[in-house]
Subunit: 145 residues, 2 copies
């Protein structure tokens, strides 16, 4: 698609990819651990995919959720496929914390606070290990039934 | 869970349920067609479910997406499992339109506009048919592989 940003650029720092999808890290200093899964082919909605591809994509989303829970121990994980701004199928996976800038609202809501810099720095250190862990585990997620 | 709202109340107008989940209509006059899928058991995250239950839940979410696309022809469908306010697993399925109050931002973002009342009334009429259609189709979604 000529005018689609996600057909042209990775949409974040590339962590892992295969033919069907890629995992990128979102460079948001206030939300460490925020990653996206972007479907390679230009489609808009989950129901533009076959059932097998839907499940393939969700296995990666849920693999990321599980890894992020273990690595970062967030209060909650947010999963969202919105695409109102860029209508190219992608999922947001966002670890959320009681003291993050938007909690308990969505990360698209108005900001409530700044997180203590030492606290967020510690989370950034944990998040910095995610790319390696994802690279080790992603193929395994796809092999699950 | 003693303090969990979604363990106590339906969380919307009940459309359809089985032992594992329920589908409810959200009474938002500005966002007709907004529905939720709520897991019956009190769990917080998708990765608290077995792989079979994850897929069971997503088949219903995607069934709703497909039905809403056909019935309402939205610009985009938004899917989200957030749970920051109520940490009981549930999915939001929201048909979005270029002229809806929040587009192209999330429905949790600040409002940009009011939608023309005739336009939103026409959408409410289409959305009013969703409960019947869902009741006819939901079991079929669960029987897909």
């Amino acid at each position: 698609m000529v005018n689609c940003k996600l057909c042209k650029v990775p949409g974040g720092d590339l962590i892992w990819s295969d033919d069907s999808l890629r995992i990128v890290q979102v460079a948001d200093q206030q939300l460490p651990g925020f990653v996206r899964v972007i479907w390679t082919e230009h489609v808009s909605e989950m129901t533009d995919l076959s059932s097998a591809d839907q499940w393939r994509l969700m296995k990666v989303v849920f693999g990321l959720e599980q890894l992020i829970r273990k690595q970062m121990e967030p209060t909650k994980v947010n999963l969202a496929s919105l695409g109102n701004q860029v209508s190219h199928l992608h999922w947001h996976i966002v670890p959320r914390f009681l003291d993050d800038p938007f909690f308990p609202d969505s990360i698209w809501s108005p900001r409530h606070r700044s997180t203590d810099e030492q606290v967020v720095a510690a989370r950034r250190s944990l998040a910095a290990q995610l790319p390696n862990l994802i690279q080790q585990q992603a193929e395994g997620w796809l092999m699950l039934r």
